[in-house]
């Protein structure tokens, strides 16, 4: 699929009521230019599959039916996976999905204020997350629960910010997993800067910056592409194209496939089947190894689907059809690997049953921990604003403490007003 014909699929001017020629009847002159861009930046190989519907090729190692596809280019990155490794990947996805489902339930029960579900994106997250080394550093968005899991972050820590007890509840340096970042795209610059530091240190770690399809429109992401290319920083931009940015489909962000963005900045972009954990693992390993070897940044577009709502506050029925979701059900990342494991005889019923039980245990633990999570002390408002202190914060802390104390001293009926506010 060429750049041009993708654009032609969605003529924007048509609806404008103007007297222009529509985008589909372009002049030969334009054509000759854009046609050169044909599949530029695509990774080709036996494993490259059409995603259907005129979409460009994507790297795939496991079909939706769970059949292993041979890839001259990427097989090497998964060649040493043992059956145990494969089961571990499966376990990661199942545990992540179970955790996510529990969080959705907890939100419904009022224990969390909000939850952004990763349902459907388990393969993209586990594949890329498991490709990282311990010394690598990860900069997530707010949806990377599966990556957090792979990095070894206790999942219950992820819930604090969505319960409203903190704005980020884990030590980023504990697992080299940065805090969730809500301001779209801004973490890609932090990742790039961190990677510049890695390079300065002469270390051979790499950095992964996660971002969504919507995020690709933010100026910060473009600047991250520029800085990473200019400084040849060891950073991998892992874009989960889950087709939606809240209610906006990807066409509202770009008229060409997102992975193609990279080439104009001077580094490779690859589209991978985001529901294929093996392909995501392989492509991520390829990109991370490049980065370690001093070859600079890469962009991975994991083509996947947000099976749930944007967050628990969202109502996707307002903007998308059920059939779309259904068409992605058959591509489910977990089913796919299970089919493969079973076909290969790599896992038996006992394994699946045990995993089921283990995931239930996780669900229960998450439930228990969240329900027991205490509200923060109001005085914590004044903590950690500055590392070296700030006179005004000290003053306001003292004033607030005195104010709070004034209620404790007051007779009971005077306190009543305190509950009204």
């Amino acid at each position: 699929m060429t750049v041009e014909s993708t654009a032609a699929r969605t003529p924007r001017r048509a609806g404008s009521g103007g007297k222009r020629t529509s985008a589909s009847s372009k002049s030969a002159s334009a054509k000759s230019t854009a046609a050169d861009a044909k599949s530029a930046g695509t990774k080709k190989g036996a494993s490259a599959r059409k995603a259907g519907d005129g979409q460009p090729e994507l790297v795939q190692l496991l079909t939706p039916e769970g059949e292993r596809v041979v890839s001259a280019e990427y097989d090497r990155y998964v060649a040493d996976l043992t059956p145990e490794d494969l089961r571990a990947l499966y376990r990661d996805m199942v545990m992540t999905r179970r955790f996510d489902a529990e969080a959705v339930t907890l939100q419904r029960q009022g224990e969390l204020g909000l939850w952004p579900s990763l349902l459907g994106q388990e393969a993209a997250q586990v594949g890329s997350g498991r490709a990282t080394r311990q010394d690598d550093y990860v900069f997530p968005t707010y949806r990377e629960h599966g990556v957090a899991w792979c990095r070894g972050v206790d999942p219950t820590l992820l819930l604090g910010m969505f319960r409203g007890v903190n704005n980020g509840g884990w030590d980023p340096n504990g697992n080299n997993f940065h805090l969730y970042t809500i301001v779209i795209g801004s973490q890609t610059l932090h990742a790039t800067g961190y990677a510049m530091g890695v390079a300065k240190d002469g270390a051979d770690s790499a950095v992964v910056a996660y971002l969504g399809d919507g995020a690709t429109s933010q100026g910060d992401v473009a600047e991250a592409f520029t800085f990473s290319a200019v400084y040849n920083a060891p950073v991998v931009f892992f874009c989960q194209n889950n087709q939606w940015a809240i209610s906006e489909p990807t066409e509202k962000q770009s008229r060409v496939p997102l992975y193609q963005r990279a080439q104009g900045y001077g580094f490779p972009g690859v589209r991978v089947d985001g529901n294929d954990v093996l392909a995501c693992l392989a492509v991520s390993k390829w990109a991370l190894e490049r980065a370690r070897a001093g070859e600079g940044p890469a962009l991975i577009e994991a083509f996947t689907y947000r099976m749930g709502a944007h967050t628990t506050s969202d109502d996707p029925t307002r903007y998308r059809r059920d059939e779309e979701r259904e068409s992605w059900e058959v591509k489910d990342p977990i089913k796919r690997l299970r089919a493969y494991l079973e076909a290969q005889g790599h896992a038996d019923e006992a394994f699946f049953a045990e995993l089921e039980a283990e995931s239930e245990t996780l669900g229960k633990r998450v439930r228990d921990v969240v329900r027991a999570m205490p509200d923060p002390d109001p005085m914590s408002i004044f903590e950690n604003i500055y590392a070296d202190g700030h006179a005004l914060v000290d003053e306001e802390r003292a004033q607030f403490a005195a104010y709070q104390a004034s209620f404790a001293d007051a007779p009971a009926d005077a306190v009543a007003g305190g509950e009204v506010k």
């Binding site: 940015a245 506050s313 923060p376 914060v393 305190g418």
Partner: protein
């Protein structure tokens, strides 16, 4: 039907609808404003009725939204831009401060840039970070912008009409935690001027000045104070740039005392400007220094402690008591 009861969110929706109907140059643009109708449903149904050319789902890029709105305004359109939440206006800050605010002056008046930027703001909704902030001071300091914020449905409707009709850029802050509070809207009324403050409760012992979400809080405080025998006057400022100092001054010169209340951090906040100017204007009338009640010098805290951070009835009355103690 001229008089209807609307929640604030619906009043804004009606106001946008009225503007879209009245002037083909009016556009609504922002993230998710189209099919979804915005994350607060404020633009609900508008794209369906006015089409994708008038109600525009934009790419996820706030600088791009405001920057292209400027270009559209230069072409003769009147874009009404939505920023999804207060904390997401900052990527657009450069376009707002260096371009939108200054372009009319830069062109010696030869061009006008009538862009309205709607921003749901303030806390109290139990949200995650960046969804509860009150950045109005960061816009009021900048010449070339006008900053307004309604506190009730009628103002929500009319002030947005006026903002859209204004040839100047207007930042229109919407008190998101009051979105569902209902009030009467008379679409045939002759509204107050956009930048006029309004005495919403008369009183004699002290003046409370507030705007947006804090007006209701102050009215509740005044009601509670009345039970204690204190008579508080409440002024709804409505406009943060310009500030209607005349109305505030007149009130303060009646009551002798002033407490300014806002959710935004006190340090370098609106209260500082009001305190400084009213003290200068009414030096001999003030029985007590102007006191300020607002957010602390901290990031907006996690939802589970936001009630401690936000000015509530008690903190307002505590300040009133301190003022009366002078």
């Amino acid at each position: 039907m001229a008089v209807q009861k609307f929640p604030i969110a619906k009043a804004i929706n009606e106001s946008l609808r009225t503007a879209l109907e009245a002037d083909p140059k009016v556009l609504v643009m922002g993230e998710d404003v189209g099919k979804l109708g915005g994350v607060f449903r404020v633009t609900d149904g508008l794209q369906k009725d006015f089409g994708e050319e008038r109600v525009i789902d934009t790419p996820l890029a706030e600088s791009g939204i405001v920057g292209t709105a400027i270009g559209l305004a230069l072409r003769g359109y009147r874009p009404v831009v939505e920023i999804q939440f207060d904390g997401f206006v900052f990527p657009a800050y450069d376009q707002i401060v260096t371009q939108l605010a200054k372009m009319h002056a830069r062109a010696l008046g030869k061009v006008k840039v009538p862009v309205v930027i709607r921003i749901p703001y303030g806390g109290g909704i139990g949200a995650v970070e960046h969804h509860s902030e009150s950045p109005e001071a960061l816009f009021a300091h900048v010449a070339g912008l006008k900053v307004v914020t309604p506190s009730n449905a009628s103002d929500a409707y009319w002030m947005l009409q006026q903002a859209i009709q204004s040839d100047d850029p207007v930042i229109y802050f919407e008190p998101k935690r009051r979105y569902w509070e209902k009030g009467e809207v008379n679409t045939d009324a002759i509204p107050d001027p956009l930048h006029k403050a309004r005495v919403v409760r008369e009183g004699t012992d002290a003046t409370l000045v507030a705007y947006g979400p804090m007006v209701r809080t102050c009215l509740e405080a005044a009601a509670a104070a009345a039970e204690e025998g204190k008579s508080l006057e409440v002024v709804d400022l409505r406009s943060v740039s310009p500030v209607d100092f005349d109305t505030v001054q007149a009130s303060v010169e009646r009551t002798g005392r002033l407490v300014v209340v806002h959710e935004a951090p006190v340090f370098f906040g609106s209260g500082a400007e009001i305190a400084a100017r009213i003290t200068e204007r009414s030096f001999y009338h003030l029985e007590a220094p102007v006191l300020r009640v607002g957010g602390f010098h901290s990031p907006y805290p996690p939802a589970r402690v936001e009630e401690d951070y936000l000015p509530g009835l008690d903190r307002v009355l505590d300040a009133v008591d301190r003022s009366l103690a002078y």
